[in-house]
């Protein structure tokens, strides 16, 4: 939170965290649920099916031609069991990113929602945290649904698959935080399209559909720098039971992403609506 604190001290010379946070983020989440219930639950529902279709088409269909995949540790799994955790991570990412980018963009520029929220005793951190938690909730719902499908299809190979739920929430939290931070800098629809330009290749190339070993070393490092790779590896090691020490690195990566995204979002909301 050092960025936040610095911003507070530089600007107001007092007031501290109290000026940023009133402990009321859950009302922002409650508001999001109420709004979803009354307006756009169909959109929410549709987001669940996308990864399921991918799983059926590629895991089951394409998988018959590919056969098995050998994990770095030497464990051999079916192709469907290999890509399913990747798709699970992707569904968490998509849910979180959709809510924290497009939805936030609309609320920011057209709905004027944050103007009204910040004219109450709430602070920018309440709004940021509330919106991000709401986005995370959606990613979490998708993940549990998808994990259930995996269980039915016999693609969860270990009891540790249950831990994929908190893991996926962590992933969603990370993507939602960063997504909202980036969105707060966006001014036009054209800029919003850049998000898609980043998301699609990340989805295709982050060892989602094949092991990272197909790439040359420099490209491997590039992929390893991207968040989705960490998400895919984290979830895959849990659903296949192929546990390694790398899990700690993946978790740390997302913790850092959350801290960074949340700090930037708070500072930006303050600059945009309380200046």
């Amino acid at each position: 939170m050092s960025i936040v604190e610095k911003a507070v001290n530089a600007r107001s010379g007092g007031g501290g965290v109290r000026a940023l946070y009133s402990g009321n983020a859950r009302i922002v989440v409650a508001r999001g649920l109420l709004a979803t219930k009354s307006t756009n639950w169909v959109v929410v529902f549709s987001g669940f099916f996308e990864p399921v279709f991918y799983l059926l088409a590629m895991g089951w269909g394409l998988g018959q031609f590919i056969g098995d995949v050998t994990l770095p540790s030497g464990t051999v799994v079916s192709y469907a069991a290999f890509i399913a955790p990747g798709l699970l991570a992707v569904s968490a990412m998509n849910g979180a990113v959709y809510d924290s980018t497009w939805n936030v963009f609309f609320k920011m520029h057209f709905g004027k929602l944050y103007d009204s929220m910040l004219s109450t005793s709430m602070g920018p951190l309440d709004v940021a945290l509330g919106e991000i938690l709401y986005a995370l909730l959606r990613g979490g719902v998708y993940a549990i649904g998808f994990l259930t499908v995996m269980q039915v299809l016999g693609l969860n190979l270990s009891w540790t698959a249950a831990l994929a739920i908190p893991a996926v929430l962590l992933v969603a939290f990370g993507f939602a935080s960063l997504g909202m931070a980036i969105t707060s800098y966006m001014k036009t629809f054209q800029q919003m399209d850049w998000i898609n330009i980043v998301m699609l290749p990340m989805f295709l190339f982050s060892a989602t559909f094949y092991p990272l070993s197909v790439y040359s070393e420099p490209i491997q490092w590039l992929i390893k720098a991207l968040p989705l790779w960490h998400a895919v590896e984290l979830v895959r090691s849990l659903t296949t039971g192929d546990l390694t020490g790398a899990i700690a690195i993946h978790v740390a990566y997302f913790a850092a992403m959350i801290a960074l995204g949340l700090s930037f979002t708070t500072v930006r909301l303050r600059a945009l609506f309380l200046d």
Binding site: R11, S12, G13, G14, G15, R18, A19, S22, G23, N24, I27, A30, R31, L34, A35, S38, T39, G111, K112, L113, D115, S116, M117, L118, S119, T120, S121, M122, G123, F273, L274, D275
Partner: protein
């Protein structure tokens, strides 16, 4: 007299090279209905945002309810009701939920918010719209809902930025009636407007603002007494003849103003002046005698009319 709820000294706000508010001083005692009157771009909204603790000042001092907005933003905002210039109702929520959720942003318990929401729907004459979607409301209803929403935390000060701009005359009168009731209950009102009739109806005291500065201060009646005459004669000679007619009328009235479409003569006896105009051999196409209004005060102070 009790301590002012708002006190500003040398309050200034600049955006880059633009000075929106150029060092203004004013105080608002509790229970007063205080107005900022001025044309668009005079710095009214910027002043309101600073008082509302959502915009930081560049220099000068400001206290709201005895606190500095710079350091106690959330505490101040928790005791304010804000009606912004553009409605920012939550279009994804229904009418009653708009009130309840907004109340909960202040950390108020759900049950209390629900009780108050029902009272406020009655106050805003929107009881039968409780389940309606915000987008289905008329402009006047949206405005009343925004005012009801601003009252959910029982604010000590209600801030209204251009409360009736864009509403039809009937909707304005309904709104004024509601605001007048609040005033009678002792709520401190701070409002901006560029409508003189609104300022005259609602404000105990007002400041006339132009280019970020205060030009005059007082009650509507005292401003009119000080800066204008009792009556005004409006004469129209046709746009090509107004100036030449005005030259002939110089000296006939206490003051003569030439506008593009009419000549204004300031006097304490409108009918008498109208007769003298006829004696001078001038025949305006239309003539009108009326009471002086804040519009005339503004014209006198700035040389411009309030609504272009």
């Amino acid at each position: 007299m009790s301590a002012p709820v708002i006190a500003a000294q040398g309050l200034t706000k600049t955006f880059g090279d633009l000075t929106a508010v150029a060092g203004i001083d004013f105080e608002v005692p509790p229970g007063e209905s205080f107005g900022l009157l001025g044309p668009n771009g005079a710095g009214k909204s910027t002043t309101m945002r600073m008082v509302g603790a959502v915009s930081s000042r560049t220099s000068g001092s400001l206290t709201v309810l005895g606190l500095d907005p710079e350091t106690h933003g959330p505490e101040i905002r928790s005791q304010l009701g804000v009606v912004p210039q553009e409605d920012n109702l939550d279009t994804e929520l229904r009418v009653r939920d708009n009130l309840i959720v907004y109340g909960r942003y202040f950390g108020l318990p759900r049950r209390l918010c629900a009780t108050r929401a029902d009272e406020l729907l009655t106050f805003a004459q929107l009881e039968d719209k409780a389940r309606a979607k915000v987008d289905d409301l008329s402009g006047g209803m949206k405005r009343r809902l925004t005012i009801a929403r601003a009252l959910i935390n029982e604010p000590r000060i209600l801030m209204l930025d251009e409360p009736t701009t864009g509403l039809d005359p009937q909707a304005r009168h309904v709104l004024w009636d509601r605001l007048f009731r609040l005033k009678e209950r002792g709520t401190t009102l701070v409002l901006t407007t560029h409508y003189m009739d609104e300022a005259e109806q609602l404000c105990d005291r007002l400041v006339v603002v132009d280019h970020g500065r205060i030009m005059a201060e007082g009650s509507p009646a005292s401003l009119i007494r000080e800066y204008s005459t009792r009556e005004v004669v409006e004469l129209r000679f046709g746009s090509d003849h107004n100036a030449s007619a005005a030259a002939q009328l110089e000296g006939a009235a206490q003051r003569v103003e030439v506008l593009p479409d009419r000549v204004l003569l300031y006097t304490d006896d409108g009918e008498g002046l109208l007769e003298r105009v006829a004696h001078l051999g001038l025949h305006p196409t239309t003539s009108l005698v009326r009471r002086s209004s804040l519009e005339d005060v503004f014209l006198r102070l700035t040389g411009r009319s309030l609504i272009e």
